[in-house]
Amino acid sequence: MTAPARRCRRARDVLPYVDGELPTDGALGFEEHLALCAGCRAEVAAQRALEELLVALPGPRLHSADRARFAEGVRARIDARFARAPCGRMLLRRAGAAVAALAAAAALVAAVLWRHEVNRGTVRQTPEVAEAALPPSAKQAVPPPAPPDGGLLELRLADAGPRVDGRDDVARAIRRLSCESPALGGDDLLARFVAATRPLRARGIPVPAVMLGLLRDPDPELATRTADLFARASSASALGRDESALVPCLEDAMRRPDRGIAMLRALVAVGTPRAWEAVVRAARLDGLRAPALRALAANGDPSLLAPLETELLRAWASGETALAADAIAVLPVRRPEQLRLLAALRRGGLPGESIAAALRREGDDATALLADALAVGGRPARRDALLLAPLAGGDALAQPLAALALSGEAEAAALGALARLGGARTLSELARVFAEPSLPRSRARAVAAAFASALDATPDLAAALAAARADRPDGDGALVELCRGAAGRGGTAARAALLAVTAIDPALRARLALEIRDRGERIESGRLAAILADARPAAAERAGCGLAAALLVLLYAGDGESGLLAGLEALGLELTPARLDRLAGTARSAARAGEPRAALARVSALLHLAP
């Protein structure tokens, strides 16, 4: 290890110099020093390099459409606020209940903030900046902060003993409000409550503080209504950002089964990080488990996903399957972290259907996320995407999966996903990979196996094959080759489907027909005759004649000589009895022989020389 180099005493000027903070004289003097000091020169160069990097950092660029969307978003937020907190001249237009609501909200906020500041002891911001942090209502509305009556700690203690002064009055106001205006909406109800409690505040009763105490009142109905009022106030942004006093009280009360759900609702309405932490804890309480998990899932914030994952896996492990499925059903899937959660749940054993439903609900968004993860994601993201891709539905991910398979990275997993995906694009992409000249034989076998499984997973095979052909018009060879080799139900159906496609080269179709014969697969004779009739124009050519011969042999293998006659009829041929006998004999041997090509050639020759 080398000893640290001695630092130049003027090194302290490096940052002020680079930052342009040295006065002119100082800067000139330092530059003279730089000419002599390699150490300082190097430090200046390092800081300049850093500055260049910082300035070169790509920032977000908004195109005109994005700017419009952004401005629209701002307007929407303002409109939402404006309904509650008008400014300037508009304030005059909205008198009455709204003003009353703001006044009460301000009282509540001021009380909470006042206590908060007293507890903190210091206020660091300059007056203007501090003002910016206040909720609007606090500045527009009238009342000064509530008097320091008691304090929250005393209030909570008071729950166990004698009531705080004003408790009955506030409780009465809340009960009356609920009876008189059961159908009122959020802001109206809040406004009424504010108006109703104005005289109480005038008497010095700390209404918000008393309300905090009511959350633990023995009467669950009263506590529920109080929580509801808090929820409405919070939804109306009337509580400000600092709900530090409210959240612990709500969480405390939430543990009582007779009011838990109301408190949980209020916590969700408050929606601060602390409130969400309380919701996470609620997910471990028996009575609140389902709604809390649902709320956490619906929020979908990346920071909540890890506890959500833990709780959902726990629910799954303890047999609460419906609960887990219910939560996943509302999880948004628009961010990579949410994909990661779904993959973790899948690995944890949650059923694919629930996860597939979540992915399919988001449609294109989820597909785009998965495609991104497959194409440019890191290894963990790609692993998750490979796991989830088959559940996403459709074959939109076939292309990035095929690209992965072709690149040789995670090839087996990519082919496995393609095999389960199915669909026209999947078949087309697999044929493309198969046709790649550089593909080693061992990988070609894996691609063929994936293709066979993909055929099984494709619902309307004939249409899918037609679409796959349309996607890659020059790929018939690979497609036919893959279908020839495909075992299983899908393979049988695919061979029969491709045999009927007149646009495919007759020689390729003849090979398909032979494959069908070799495998002993049956195609209904009427259908074969129809294919033969379609092949009639081509039968004059050598390749077409080969196809006709192969189809005739297939017909003979199915229906014997009557099949042969039907085939000849479809071809429009009438043979002399002797030639018909010879044809039947040759077809018989072609249909039975282990080496049918020679027999087929004879059939072909007989057809060619017809009648």
């Binding site: 002020p16 390699a38 910082l54 950092l57 908004l62 952004f70 307007r75 994952e309």
Partner: protein
């Protein structure tokens, strides 16, 4: 390419170098003030112009501070919405730009704080901390190597303490004057300077730009 809009932050710094406050700049500040006054009277169009004027800078700052574009856009929108509802609190003691920046900083600090809190919760909940992914800004024109370097810078910037990050962003990236930075951060000019210098030193150290690492045998002598 779209017009990125006016860049109000760069001008004051250049002006201070020459010691002259240009009339153009003065009129821009006055213009901001008159637009803000019009907005206070309820004129939405005036406020829209302010949004348009400060949109890019606010979004840039938010992106640097919260680390991803989605949250940054959300924070920036909220910044303007909050500014509208608090226009009466803008008394003109600072420029409108500084005032709106202070709101943005506060919102970004909230985002950062909530992330930290939630991470603690994760630790308690699952016993392992997932590091947030390094923020990535897409810029296809950049070469892969350069992109990698910048990604490293972004990641190092993201790891700075919020206050240092905010100070460095405002001063070095946005080019704001120290008094403005101090006002936006709610601190003194001296503290703002110290924050920026500390941030620069930490970043240089973390990115391996320190001379002792790059050139172990730096010697005295002319260049």
């Amino acid at each position: 390419m779209d017009d990125p809009g006016p860049q109000p932050s760069k001008a004051p710094r250049e002006a201070s170098v020459t010691g002259i406050t240009s009339s153009v700049q003065r009129s821009a500040v006055e213009d901001d003030r008159s637009l803000a006054q019009a907005a206070m009277r309820g004129e939405r169009r005036a406020f829209d112009r302010l949004v348009e004027r400060y949109l890019d800078r606010t979004l840039r700052i938010c992106t640097r501070l919260v680390g991803n574009v989605e949250d940054a856009e959300d924070a920036a929108q909220e910044t303007f919405a909050r500014a509208w509802s608090r226009l009466r609190g803008f008394a003109g003691r600072s420029t409108f730009g500084t005032w709106i920046t202070s709101i943005a900083l506060r919102l970004c600090a909230d985002v950062e704080r909530s992330r930290r809190r939630r991470r603690r919760e994760l630790l308690a909940g699952i016993g392992a901390l997932r590091e947030p992914a390094a923020p990535r800004a897409s810029c296809p024109a950049l070469h892969a190597e350069q992109r990698e370097t910048l990604r490293g810078v972004e990641a190092a910037l993201a790891r700075l303490p919020p206050r240092l990050k905010a100070a460095l962003t405002l001063r070095t990236i946005e080019g704001m004057e120290y008094p403005e930075v101090a006002r936006a951060l709610g601190t003194t000019v001296r503290s703002a300077r110290l924050y920026v210098w500390e941030a620069r030193q930490r970043l240089a150290r973390e990115l391996g730009l320190e001379p002792s690492r790059r050139e172990p045998a730096a010697r005295e002598g002319p260049p």
